[in-house]
């Protein structure tokens, strides 16, 4: 039994729903009690989907338990096929129905439906949402592409894109970006699945030369099976960031035998130049804490470190299935990997790491907001505002541009920092006046109730995340001198000085200590 206040992932049948809702012509009959229909609102509210997800819930009740919940399932299944006329049916059980052991697959078989039925076994008490999505996609691919013969003549530049789903982080825009990029570079993109595909499209997957796995959490299992069953290789480099996008296109072109022609698309990369421009000098060494699904977290760490010049001070994932990859990446940045689905543990790790920027999920956004640390969302689970109206991919060169904007804007920009220090003695200018561009992203003061561990809100910028200082550590004079340090670096100055004092057994901290520490930490 696990105590949970907040979960990063839903149950596995929600993963199956994401696959069903991604595809056309597919319907999912879920053996489930009243209440499980809440999952519909993930699609209709968070993603603003204009139609109900293609799911029928059997809604069995306590009084059915004594009689026959199996009959309830059968009639729901029959009615759903008649009403929605799907091309194929998924059947399965939610956590409660799993305990009843009604065997939805077997029951559906007795109905002798004239459409393919794919039964799902998703152990709710062991597995979670992403696993459920991956398993469902794999089962579907196997069911429809299993008995296909691969043709002798296959276009070498033909490929499929696997993995994008409903409720995936920016998947809608990633597909457009990556499909366009691949086409520009001479590739023939055939099927994109599961998002937008029909069951019959899955049968045509083996007609392409190779697969591209954009989201390994969803599609790696299916791609591995296609490799084994149909000898289809797959590209597994995830094109998030400029460097990875270039490598990704290179790999795809190599598989297609297109190495000779020049690579296009890179001219739309602005991240690289923006990152070199002098304004970005101020980004150097900013401490960034990263947490999310494995793919986005690992990619974020790589971009943060190599493309933006940040310092990765924490890296983790809630997906144990991909713990090994995240551990390897963490080692490269010399940080302790954090593999957990307990958000309280993540909060502790963030406090410990004292980042200047948090890149995470919706949950880390809230943690960062409470701690008054700038934050950007990089991974599911996300909320309604992470399905923006504008085109806003994460992948490809345009994705890298979007990432530059969304990670750098919450921070103080270089020119602005420069002007701030110039004007800091002006009577109209004070520490409480945040920079003009910060309102949209940065934590507003007193926006959310602050727990007792968080310091006085009026000095938020100053003491953001620095929670330990007792006033008696500093002499009054040293405290006054510290106030002369521009507020946006004051937190760091305070931290460094206190670390220096603690390391050297100095108490109290005087003006002298402040400048000794400054010299000590000078870069």
């Amino acid at each position: 039994m696990q105590l949970s206040m907040w979960t990063y992932e839903g149950p596995p049948h929600v993963g199956a729903m994401r696959i069903a809702a991604s595809m056309e012509g597919l319907h999912y009959v879920l053996h489930a009690p009243q209440g499980d229909t809440y999952a519909d609102l993930l699609f209709t509210m968070i993603e603003r989907r204009p139609s109900r997800p293609p799911v029928t819930y059997t809604t069995f009740q306590a009084r059915d338990l004594g009689a026959s919940t199996a009959d309830v399932f059968k009639s729901a299944c029959h009615d759903a096929v008649e009403r929605f006329q799907p091309e194929a049916l998924l059947v399965g059980a939610s956590c409660t129905a799993e305990l009843l052991q009604d065997d939805p697959g077997g029951l559906a078989k007795t109905l002798e439906l004239d459409i393919p039925v794919v039964p799902l076994e998703l152990p709710s008490y062991q597995k979670k949402e992403n696993w459920g999505a991956s398993e469902t996609f794999y089962r579907l691919v196997r069911a429809f592409a299993g008995n296909r013969q691969r043709s002798e003549t296959i276009q070498p530049n033909s490929c499929n894109i696997l993995g994008p789903t409903s409720l995936g982080f920016r998947n809608r825009d990633d597909i457009r970006e990556i499909s366009g990029l691949l086409r520009e570079n001479g590739l023939d993109v055939r099927i994109v699945a599961p998002l937008g595909a029909r069951p019959a499209d899955l049968a045509r997957l083996p007609e392409a030369a190779f697969n591209i796995v954009l989201y390994p959490e969803i599609a790696e299992t299916a791609a591995r099976w296609l490799q084994k069953a149909h000898n289809m290789p797959f590209v597994s480099t995830v094109p998030i960031g400029v460097e990875a996008t270039q490598r990704f296109i290179g790999e795809a072109r190599a598989l297609a035998g297109l190495e000779e022609t020049p690579l296009t698309g890179v001219e739309t990369d602005r991240l690289s130049w923006y990152s070199k421009s002098i304004d970005s000098n101020y980004l150097t060494g900013k401490r960034v804490f990263i947490f999310g699904d494995a793919t986005h977290a690992i990619a974020a760490a790589r971009i943060a470190s190599r493309e933006l010049g940040f310092k990765v001070c924490g890296l983790g994932t809630y997906m144990r299935e991909f713990a090994r990859d995240v551990r390897a990446a963490a080692q490269a940045y010399n940080v302790e990997p954090l593999i957990t689905d307990d958000h309280l543990q993540v909060e502790e790790a963030i406090l410990e790491a004292r980042p200047e920027l948090v890149l995470g999920t919706q949950m880390e956004r809230h943690i960062a907001k409470r701690l008054r640390v700038p934050c950007a969302v990089i991974s599911a689970p996300v909320h309604v505002q992470d399905f923006p109206a504008r085109y806003s991919p994460q992948m490809g060169f345009e994705g890298a541009n979007v990432i530059f904007d969304s990670w750098v804007h919450p921070l103080m920009m270089g020119l602005e920092e420069h002007l701030l220090s110039m004007f800091r003695d002006d009577f109209e200018f004070n520490d409480d006046a945040a920079a003009s561009h910060l309102h949209a992203h940065s934590p507003a003061q007193a926006d959310t109730p602050v727990k007792a561990v968080v310091p006085d809100a009026s000095t938020a910028q100053d003491t953001a995340i620095s929670l330990s200082e007792a006033p008696s550590l500093w002499t009054d004079e040293a405290e006054r001198e510290l106030k002369k340090v521009p507020f946006f670096v004051r937190g760091k100055a305070r931290r460094n000085t206190e670390t220096f004092a603690a390391d050297n057994g100095i108490h109290p901290i005087t003006v002298e200590t402040l400048y000794d520490a400054k010299a000590h930490f000078a870069r």
């Binding site: 039994m1 819930y57 059997t58 305990l99 809230h366």
Partner: protein, 435 residues
Amino acid sequence: MNQTFRPGCERSATIRERGQHEVFCGLTSIIWLHRKVQDAFFLIVGSRTCAHLMQSAAGVMIFSEPRFATAIMEERDLAGMADMHDELDGVVEKLLARRPDIKMLVLVGSCPSEVIKFDLGKAAERLNRHYAPKHRVICYSGSGIETTFTQGEENFLAALVRDEPDAGKSQDSAKLVVAGCLPDVVEDQFQRLFKDLGIDGVHFLPGRTSAAMPKIDRSTRFVLAQPYLGAAAQALESRGASRINAIFPLGEEGTTAWLKAIADAFEVSEERFETVTAPARKRAWAALSHYRHLLSGKRVFLFPDSQLEPSLARFLAREIGAQIVEVGSPYLHREHVAGELALLPPGVALSEGQDVDRQIDRCRAADPDLIVCGMGLANPFEAEGRLTKWSIEFAFTPIQGYEQAGDLAELFARPLVRRNALSGKPATEEGASCS
């Protein structure tokens, strides 16, 4: 599966359906219960689905540490590799160490815990031996196989009433218990009205803290502030309290009728009742008049959600002149809502339970001007060009009492105002803004 029947006392046939219910389960009522009783913590004994439901339905991702959580059952619990009672004790220990300020721990049963017949009563008894009186432990079921949305509150209140006998022996017994969660602001308004009517010894159930439990006995009268409290009413009656029968305090008419029933039970004179309520009634009518022109004659279809639907329909029909096409309710407590049903205009279709696909068919065929429905259905209807109002707002917004009558009308008017604004129609009257 549909059967139509016509009991003698009812004006219209009831469509009874069983099929897919697009309604939350009883766990969802924890969203307002935990805000109401501020020293209580609700621990669901359930699955990952329960935890996911709670955070999705409430949008509670905003609070990183709310006063509810889920003890998620895992494979080893079900396979018997771990003793679930020991496991639960471990979870509770961890929780109370983290939140020592919690005075009342509420164990909440779920679909999976009910199906495996996990004995929460036994667990509560054992935990009470260990933690009471510092932390009192009670339990109830909010499982979807037995309860819909608001019935979770019903079971919670019943558990509170049943648990009380040892508490508060020294205090005077309550003269009037107002049962059913009301927002604090509404409670305060009612409390002032009761004082002006000369009724004292009034207690609200649940109280704002777990210790605020009134003493209930044969001298206690109670009135329901919400229509979904069958089990809670039974629990109060079994303690000797007697129910004051009334319609529910929604709108001016509902509030007046509700207060009048109470006033009559306490023998408040007609004059005094008139003097006390007249100014508030006048204000309520003034507020309603801002919206009546927007909603008058509009055809409204209500999907089942909170069991408030018959009261909402009565308000819409009688106070702002809307036409009601169908009133759905997940469950109808015949006795408690008899007064409401009697006030519905003839010809209104009433449905209990749900087969959501058939109901959507009926709704499309009727082509109403406004559809009151849950969040799973609202955007799909909007995408078809139909106007909707999220029903969950009626459970979360202060709508009861005189001072909220206008706000209640505004909730229905807002989608219409918005459509006008977006279609470039002339600006609507003042008071119809969407602030």
